[in-house]
């Protein structure tokens, strides 16, 4: 590839990355369960993508490559914070589901309740919510991106939804009380 065409390609890829940022921002918000942390993750992911662009293989999905970078950075962040979400036994995730955390959080609306549930649930559940529900990816793509079986994608989505519903019910009970 000539230098001129390489520069042209880099500019095109950069433009594609910039156009992708709104989606990435929503994904990062979903991954972290928090808008501010999401923006921090977005910035780190964008910088990581720019600095490692030579590792992206032309012909593969650029956006999903960046999603993977964001996911790995989020896992690193959680490990640094020693958050249990990363190592939690997924079969017990619902039982661990942060009932105390949920009870502690006060919410005043359904959207607050959903955000509170997202923030409190284990990161594995947030990941499938971010990929499938927020970004609209297929189960197959989610399974590839998260490196888990499709059946696990389905079960994690179900558990995430149960947590959100539980939080919504709690909010509704609180409003009636």
């Amino acid at each position: 590839m000539s230098t001129a065409s390489a520069v042209g390609t880099n500019e095109q890829v950069h433009a594609r990355l910039v156009a992708f940022l709104p989606r990435l921002r929503r994904f990062c918000h979903g991954l972290t369960g928090n808008a501010d942390l999401g923006d921090d993750l977005l910035q780190a992911s964008f910088e990581r993508a720019l600095s490692r662009l030579d590792q992206w293989q032309d012909g593969t999905n650029l956006e999903n490559w960046v999603f993977r970078l964001a996911r790995n950075l989020n896992i690193d962040r959680l490990r640094a914070l020693r958050v249990r979400g990363v190592t939690v036994d997924i079969d017990q995730a619902y039982d661990l589901a942060g009932e105390d955390e949920l009870a502690r959080l006060e919410t005043r609306s359904e959207l607050d309740a959903v955000n509170a549930a997202l923030g409190a649930m284990p990161v594995e559940l947030r990941e499938v919510m971010a990929v499938v529900v927020l970004d609209g990816q297929s189960y197959r793509t989610a399974a590839e991106l998260l490196e888990i079986p499709i059946g696990t994608v389905m079960s994690r989505l179900s558990r995430a939804r149960q947590l959100i519903e539980a939080r919504l019910n709690r909010t509704a009970d609180g409003a009636l009380a």
Binding site: Q43, V114, L118, S138, S155
Partner: protein, 218 residues
């Protein structure tokens, strides 16, 4: 037909094949409870998407953080990151700030002195003997077509050129040519933001030196 919520959700998420989709749709047509469960699952997903909305445009401040727009500076806004950095620097002994030891400082100072001396000598030879432009010394070291540098930057030894460029761009600066043999980058920063940008760069652990070019005032 018995149907789990996971199967219903897979249908909602278009992750079942055509035969399964037809079965589920036929079952829902005959089972109101099943249709209600599907509606409930769909509503929860919609609520989640609404709670974490897709904003078509990034806020200007965030674009600035990403190096996509000029930094937003307002009198009534405190850059907490800069304050934290300054506080952290003030709390550390001078010799260990940014992992930059006293011997490192002497090394950088010596390198800078060599660069300045060679650059000045070269500028006297290549430019004009009567030139009073202090930037000439730096022009003489690099590409003569790029003469806008108004600051110098040096990174920690483990920072490669790609990462260095990314940090320069993120800071809202522009690199002028390649780094010198000593690893010093010439950069250009918008004059009004030069001091603030250099201060922010100094606060980064990866940056060993960020200094304005003396005499080349904005």
């Amino acid at each position: 037909m018995t149907m789990t919520d996971e199967q219903i959700a897979a249908w909602l998420h278009k992750s079942v094949d055509a035969d399964q989709a037809a079965q589920i749709e036929a079952a829902m047509a005959q089972d109101e409870a099943l249709a209600a469960r599907a509606a409930r699952i769909g509503a929860l997903d919609a609520l989640a998407r609404h709670a974490v909305p897709l904003e078509p445009e990034l806020p200007e401040a965030l674009r600035a953080r990403l190096g996509l727009a000029p930094a937003v500076v307002a009198d009534n806004v405190v850059d907490l990151a800069a304050v934290r950095t300054a506080r952290a620097l003030a709390a550390k002994p001078a010799a260990t700030r940014s992992g930059f030891s006293r011997s490192d400082r002497w090394r950088v100072a010596a390198q800078l002195l060599v660069i300045l001396s060679v650059g000045f000598a070269a500028s006297q030879w290549r430019v004009s003997p009567t030139s009073t432009d202090d930037a000439a010394a730096y022009r003489a070291l690099g590409d003569s077509r790029q003469t806008a540098a108004n600051a110098l930057l040096m990174f920690a030894p483990d920072i490669d050129a790609r990462a260095a460029k990314a940090m320069i761009v993120k800071a809202g600066a522009q690199s002028i040519g390649a780094p010198s043999a000593a690893g010093v980058w010439q950069i250009y920063v918008a004059p009004a933001q030069r001091d603030a940008t250099l201060a922010a760069l100094r606060g980064m652990a990866a940056v060993q030196m960020a200094e304005p070019i003396s005499g080349n005032q904005p």
